[in-house]
Amino acid sequence: MALEHVAQGQSRFMTPGVAPDPRGVLLGRHCLLLFPTLEGVVSWLRLYSSEASLDELLSGFEIARVRTALHSREMVVRIPALSSYACDRAARLVKLVGGSIYTGTSKHFVKYRDERAPYGYDAVDIGALPGGAEFMLHGDDFSQAYTREGEVPIQRLLFRLTLRRIPGATRLGPDERAELVLAVAHGLGDGVIRYLWRNKVEAEIGLVTPGGGSAFDDPGADRSYLLFRVAHLPERILELFLGTPGIDVFRQVTANAAVAVGFAHPIELSSVGTLLPQTGYHLFWPGDRVDVVPAPLELSRISDLTRIDLELEAAEPQPVASATAVDPVGVPLRLAPALGSPRRVTATLVPLAQSAWLKRLIYLLPPSSLRGHRVAVTDRGVLITGSENVDIVPLGQLLSELSPGLLVPLGMDIVPRVSAEVLARALGHGSGVLTVFSHDGAPFQLSETSLVPLERRSLARMEIERAEVTDLSAEAVLDPSVVNDPVGRFALWGFPTAPDRKLLPSGDG
């Protein structure tokens, strides 16, 4: 018998590094779980993660391949012995999957307590470790030394486990459908956005590129895809998406991990949150694929991404000369002779009837005037504005600028003489808009963008004929290049001999 039962209240033990906990159960700093294969380890992790959080065990957690002196290989999981309660749960689950559990601190580990020894076991004889051994397990009727062969990082194990297909898991309840993640191929993005938008589904979208590509990937290959976060996806749309190639639906299991709908990770991911770095968002695909995209996800609303039809080629609408109705707050606005000094003429409104005169005048204008004037043709007349240092065309009704963009006939003022801001608000006047008061009719507004330089507007459309160019240069002479046509292997077979002719005399001298 290599072990003896620990008695209640016992305080001295042969095994180094163990002590009774408050309940009197013998505990070292760690527990060692011994499994014959890696499948046992995974089964234990799966069971434990579904019952409790693995996060609390992860400080000091280690999975190692070990070897006995007879070269039989086993798997060992080292977990911190936080309390005898946690160890009890680990021990229960270890037995369930066919393993065994030991406790100790560094090199000697004794069997953890069971029904026969509620306070645990202590080793009877602690000897020196054989050469090369790293630790020794003391069981009921054996003491076995082990040598470490290697470590299996749990993070790598986590990312390499194949997702399990869960029958019927594609039918999600309303709570599960409250937040889903879609991975959509580029080509389908536009259609999915439109479809979700039409069906009034709230969604956000982002373009993500998974990190950690393979060295065998094509360097120019684009691995990015569209990631949607969808809220309250209707069941019929979910079924549609699940059946559409190019669209993969994921269920969010932690803040930074999502698993494909219809599948489940063997280990409860919510219990291993510390193994999933906050800097990445993990997408667990079926088929052993895990994409890590940069987190937090920066997504945009799909409502801002719906397609906009821009008709840049369409004809621009004619300058609008719509007169806005003056708000009848109190007294109507009127034009009255100005009291102050006369202002500079900045524009003129030429009646359409005088447009022929204007055309004739354009022939006489110097280039600076043509460049400096801007013109808009409205149904109320031709409005010509001049920039600084350009004299205005002496035609039509001359206008001066009362405030920026507000044009009144020269020598007139608007009464009542309210401030420019009040006037602008009353008229609906703002930047980019010209408001023109004239003697006849109501004031009208037009967009400043409808004014084009007179230089550009002045030319009528001309028919340009393209002249034919006759090339008088000599034809370029190519270099003669010999090309050998295929003649076959036996082309010369049967080639006749030359006729026996004498050289002809010089025929023509």
Binding site: P480, S481, V482, N484, D485, A491, P499, D508
Partner: protein
């Protein structure tokens, strides 16, 4: 293999030969083929007119009035001879199924085709030149293709597309090279055929040549010098290689400028070794002197009339005497030698009437005499005297021309 038609022969071989482009070389042609071509020629008016138009375009820069050209049997035979000559460097003319006897038959057949009457008729001379003027510019694009497990060479042929696939994976490497006249038509077994062929078009041989081409026989070409327009064409072509060789011809040391005159003088050297008629020797000698006068004319604008000629200083430099092209010494020594043997030929008529030109001519003669040496002039004069019948006089008196302005 089906017999080629005259239409395909004209459009795929003759027209590109004249106008440039891809010249397709296929199965060698026989005399019977050419006879059949001649028989079918009236039914190939489109193709033959295209060839004639191309020939007229070639001649248009050379003569004022291009004679009417009509493709004839001897033109077809000469083109077929060139075709067969090109076939001899076809990759399939040198395989395991081709024996020496077969090649000999092709060469014999080609010689039979090239055996056409020599001609001195101006239209026919021009027509043959237009047909074969590109013969020294013929080239072939060769491709050396290597990939990870092997290599192959394609001479004027396109490699199969499968050999060019997956260039990165199969590490396909292409090396393109150009084969010129010397590789295509300069081989020893085809040299007699080419000599025979080129003898049929003396204008081509006078106007252009290649280092690997047969030498010019002035006896065949001297009649060109008796046609004023053709003689002018040959002369201007000989001293204006800048048009063909680019700016380097005049911008360099002048070697390009005197290359053709030297070649023609070298042929003259060979001519006077034989027994040509004295009239022919006189004609060629006068022509070469005329070329020298054209070089003098090119220096008429020099600031100092009596300054030494930079051209002669460059091409006849003593330190480069060993690198002088063949015939160059003869070319510059000829006026001095003729002054000894036949003074009427020693200077072009009327040249000495212009005092500036006469001075430059004197400078040239003196400088040439210093550069080539009296021994060369004396030897040349003796050889000329054998043909011209004059008695040699003192060369020193010859180089100091009487009556020339100082």
């Amino acid at each position: 293999m089906a017999r080629p038609t005259v239409q395909s022969f004209l459009s795929r071989f003759v027209r590109p030969l004249v106008a440039g482009g891809e010249i397709h070389v296929g199965r060698p042609l026989t005399v019977e083929d050419v006879d059949a071509f001649d028989h079918e020629l009236p039914h190939a008016s489109v193709e033959s007119e295209a060839v004639d138009d191309a020939r007229a375009a070639v001649l248009a820069p050379l003569v004022c009035r291009v004679p009417p050209l009509l493709l004839e049997r001897d033109d077809l035979a000469l083109a077929a001879a060139l075709h067969n000559t090109l076939f001899l460097v076809h990759p399939q003319a040198d395989g395991v199924t081709i024996t020496d006897k077969m090649r000999r038959r092709i060469i014999d057949m080609t010689q039979a085709l090239a055996t056409q009457p020599l001609t001195r008729r101006r239209p026919r001379v021009l027509g043959r030149h237009a047909l074969l003027h590109n013969v020294f510019d013929l080239a072939r694009t060769d491709l050396q293709l290597s990939w990870w497990t092997g290599r192959a060479r394609f001479l004027g042929q396109q490699p199969p597309a499968r050999l060019l696939r997956w260039k990165g994976v199969r590490r396909v490497r292409e090396e393109v090279s150009r084969a010129g006249y010397d590789e295509l038509l300069g081989a020893s077994d085809v040299a007699p055929v080419m000599a025979m062929l080129l003898r049929r078009t003396p204008l081509t041989q006078v106007l252009s040549t290649h280092v690997a081409a047969p030498a010019l026989h002035w006896e065949d070409a001297v009649f060109l010098l008796r046609d004023a327009e053709l003689a002018r064409l040959v002369a201007y072509h000989a001293v204006a290689p800048a048009a063909a060789a680019g700016a380097g011809a005049l911008g360099g040391d002048g070697k390009e400028l005197v290359a053709t005159p030297a070649r023609l003088a070298a042929a003259f050297e060979q001519m006077i070794e034989r027994n040509p008629p004295a009239a022919d020797v006189r004609a060629v000698a006068a022509f070469l002197v005329h070329l020298g006068a054209l070089l003098v004319l090119g220096e008429r604008g020099m600031r100092e009339v009596g300054a030494r000629s930079p051209l002669l200083s460059s091409v006849l430099a003593p330190e480069r005497a060993g690198q002088r092209p063949r015939g160059l010494s003869t070319f510059f020594a000829l006026p001095n030698a003729l002054a000894v043997v036949e003074p009427r030929l020693a200077a072009p008529p009327g040249l000495l009437d212009d005092p500036v030109l006469a001075r430059r001519w004197q400078v040239h003669r003196t400088q040439a005499a210093e550069a080539v040496g009296d021994a060369v002039i004396e030897t040349l004069a003796q050889r000329l005297a054998r043909h011209l019948g004059g008695q040699p006089v003192d060369p020193v008196a010859a180089v100091s021309l009487p009556g020339a302005p100082a």
